[in-house]
Assembly symmetry: C2
Homo-oligomer: 333 residues x 2
């Protein structure tokens, strides 16, 4: 049994309420009892029960963050940004992973509610717009990433960023451009795919559905996609990948197939995870402003917790980072 305020009270020969006041620095208490109680508390290694405190205060000063998986490289700065603002505002952060599974995501959300967090941030949600319907039934504010349809969300400008990426390839002279999708990320994938279509159409380049490949946003998925790509009768000269993980998987598979990048095939990713700059060749990609996203997510959630009415979705610009995985298309044989 952990030491409680009552134990201290007994030792100090005062009432429990006095101990509480001493520890919480209440104005109406004598300096000497305060110091004495504090000393005893320290000696007894007292650590206040947040459970009890939260119960009576009706506030846990805690928020919950659902991540896709520990060690999703995309998350680093997002979570750091969240924690930064949270700490500054006196909030604690509870973290749990959804493993990209909708059922598990809902379980986590529900467990956060059970713990009486004040609000929830879901990164890479599988439920997505499903939260729209939950909004009146569920008592906690929920903020999402990359789902601009949802009113409480912080997103990278997927359409514009994806457009930049595809236009970059077209400017280099590519005409046959593949897209490797991510079936596990409905919303972002749709945005990026739509831009892909739009840019090609705007440039009057016919869209070849054979060049749109199913993927899953993982290294292995990128790897597998290359096989599909190479089986096409008219293979592409460039690949736009849903994310960097996919792109790095693609790079690895191309290397094994002895296809040179970018001489024979250009590759573009999305996210700009740390590894992207350390690949071979260093990856051309779209940078998402992850640290900023984290900060904005937390600020938006705080606004909702405080009952602000004027909260609106935020869209942040992405940035095309041109490295060495893209270049001119090969000369036609």
């Amino acid at each position: 049994m952990a030491v409680s305020i009552k134990d201290i009270a007994k030792v100090a020969g005062v009432a429990p309420s006095t101990v509480s006041r001493a520890l919480s620095d209440h104005p109406r208490i004598s300096r000497e009892t305060r110091e004495r109680v504090r000393r005893i508390a320290r000696e007894m290694e007292y650590t206040p029960s947040l459970l009890a405190r939260s119960l009576v205060k009706q506030d846990t000063a805690t928020i919950g963050v659902v991540i896709t998986s520990v060690s999703d490289p995309f998350l680093t700065n997002v979570v750091t940004g969240i924690e930064e603002v949270a700490q500054e505002q006196g909030y604690s952060v509870l973290l749990s992973s959804s493993y990209l599974d909708a059922k598990r995501e809902l379980e986590v959300v529900s467990s956060f509610h059970g713990r009486r967090t004040r609000g929830i941030i879901v990164i890479g949600s599988q439920i997505d717009t499903g939260y729209l319907h939950m909004r009146d039934r569920f008592p906690l504010p929920i903020v999402l990433t990359n789902c601009p349809i949802y009113p409480y969300s912080v997103s990278t400008d997927n359409p514009a960023s994806a457009r930049q990426a595809v236009e970059h390839l077209i400017q280099l002279g590519h005409r046959r451009i593949a897209y490797i999708a991510n079936r596990r990320s409905y919303r972002s994938n749709l945005d990026r795919l739509t831009s892909y279509h739009q840019v090609l159409e705007a440039q009057r380049i016919p869209v070849d559905e054979d060049l749109i490949i199913e993927g899953d946003g993982t290294l292995g998925g990128g790897n597998a996609a290359v096989e599909a790509l190479r089986s096409r009768t008219r293979p592409p000269t460039a690949v736009f990948c849903f994310n960097d993980m996919t792109a790095i998987g693609v790079l690895s598979a191309l290397r094994q197939a002895e296809t040179r990048v970018p001489e024979e095939m250009s590759v573009v990713g999305f996210d700009d995870v740390e590894f992207a700059a350390y690949c071979h060749p260093p990856l051309t990609t779209v940078r998402q402003p992850t640290d900023l996203m984290g900060q904005r997510l937390m600020r938006m959630l705080l606004a909702l917790i405080r009952g602000q009415e004027d909260v609106e979705p935020e869209v942040l610009p992405g940035e095309l980072v041109i490295r060495e995985s893209t270049g001119d298309p090969p000369l036609p044989a």
Copy 2:
């Protein structure tokens, strides 16, 4: 204000205790009131307060896990393994990051105590043996990774694994082998460095202190180490890196310097993170059995929570995975 058991009681026209029994499936309750109360609870979107429940039950059924940082690729399976066993045993997992900072680590540990978790797992601790002294002052059991000196720990056999790695290089014919250390990981680093020394001595190869380079376990650290390496009057023909991140940083820097791997320089990592197989060239490395570690960590913590007395440190074997970043040394000029 969230809906409580009292609210349900009012609506159902019964006492709060009856609601409690209905929801917790108590034996002495009529089937019909139970069903009725449950239906009402569902309709009211009742979610029990874990705060209150934990307080009265004197058990949160929760453990805390301190990780170095979200998206440390080493963590994936460790955390998955922990959560697997935790779920199976009815425990929840709280996650928080130390950012490799001792002060922050202690804050997290303390906050877990405040939340009354039943025990704590610290992955990649900065405190390390410091927990030895805390053991009687601190009321929660703490389990560590890769700190076999500490009685409650699960480790990869660092000495034996590192020995394998260095012996592999020597067998290939290397004599000038560098080691890139990690100043942020005292214990594991020391073990690996010691093995490095021992193997060289056993083979009567003089140790050149110039070939032991400071690093920090990051991509950038590996990158920077190469510069130091190249400045040596007699550069090495092989590099043993503290971990894969370092090794991947090294590969990237060598590529920029147009040093071919493995023809001109062999590189060995440690961990076998997922990226290791997708590098160029695919990285020779030591696999840590991370999923198993996670499971064992959780089982050990459970044993301690249950008051078992016979808990002993566990050491699991690592495995050298030979890929394509190691080969014969270049012929002397």
